[in-house]
Symmetry: C2
Amino acid sequence: MFEHPDNDPVLVLDEDQCWSLLKGTQHGRLVTVVGGRADIFPVNCAVQQNSIVLRTAPGSKLAEMAVNESVVFEADGILADQAWSVVLRGTAARLETSAEREQAEELGLKPWVPTLKDFFVRISPGELSGRHFIFGPHPERELGEGSEVG
Amino acid sequence: MFEHPDNDPVLVLDEDQCWSLLKGTQHGRLVTVVGGRADIFPVNCAVQQNSIVLRTAPGSKLAEMAVNESVVFEADGILADQAWSVVLRGTAARLETSAEREQAEELGLKPWVPTLKDFFVRISPGELSGRHFIFGPHPERELGEGSEVG
């Protein structure tokens, strides 16, 4: 799925590749910024119609999203020899209507903190970016003293 | 290691527990904020003397840390029935002296993008917090219609 031209260790992913990776993951991290101060929260997530849906208990992340709806979501996967990371920059909004909530219920999401009073939040994408990395030897380790790289 | 009193699904971790989890992990995410806009980068990491050390190639995260040294680092671990997340809010500084770099070399860190010109960065802690979660059934699912919780 991830062919790296010219053995470049970094592959910039296109949007389809990013969504495909996001669909295959069930958790990520939500970054909020209020007053120039960032917070980060681990969240369960699911993809619905090219957006990310989270389910969360009341608390600081919900409060911070209400103050600043511009959020960043990140998911990654890290193996011994390769890794990927996808970052979605977007706008967070609570799902308010019962139709929206019913659709979101079908995603099977749970908040990390179970509670009777919880909320679905949709992050609508502004900017989507992703990278796939192939880990290799560090260049310093391949070079003898005095070697140069072109 | 993580005993949850009263079956509370969330356990607030103390600093020793946070450091112990950080020592056991090799990757996390670095959050930078410049001009009110957050960025998030996956990074390899190691603990050294109650600080986090990263190794990174030149690029946007290094530039953003130079503009705003206040950063947030997050690591987490997610299993089927439990999860943890540790957040370190601190100050990022490049390791400049050869003594510092030599000590950091021993950590065996690699940047995600291998390059001849890379940098070690230390995040000195300001604020450390962590949570351990036990996943359980969602309360709604345990209740029949018309049930109430006290």
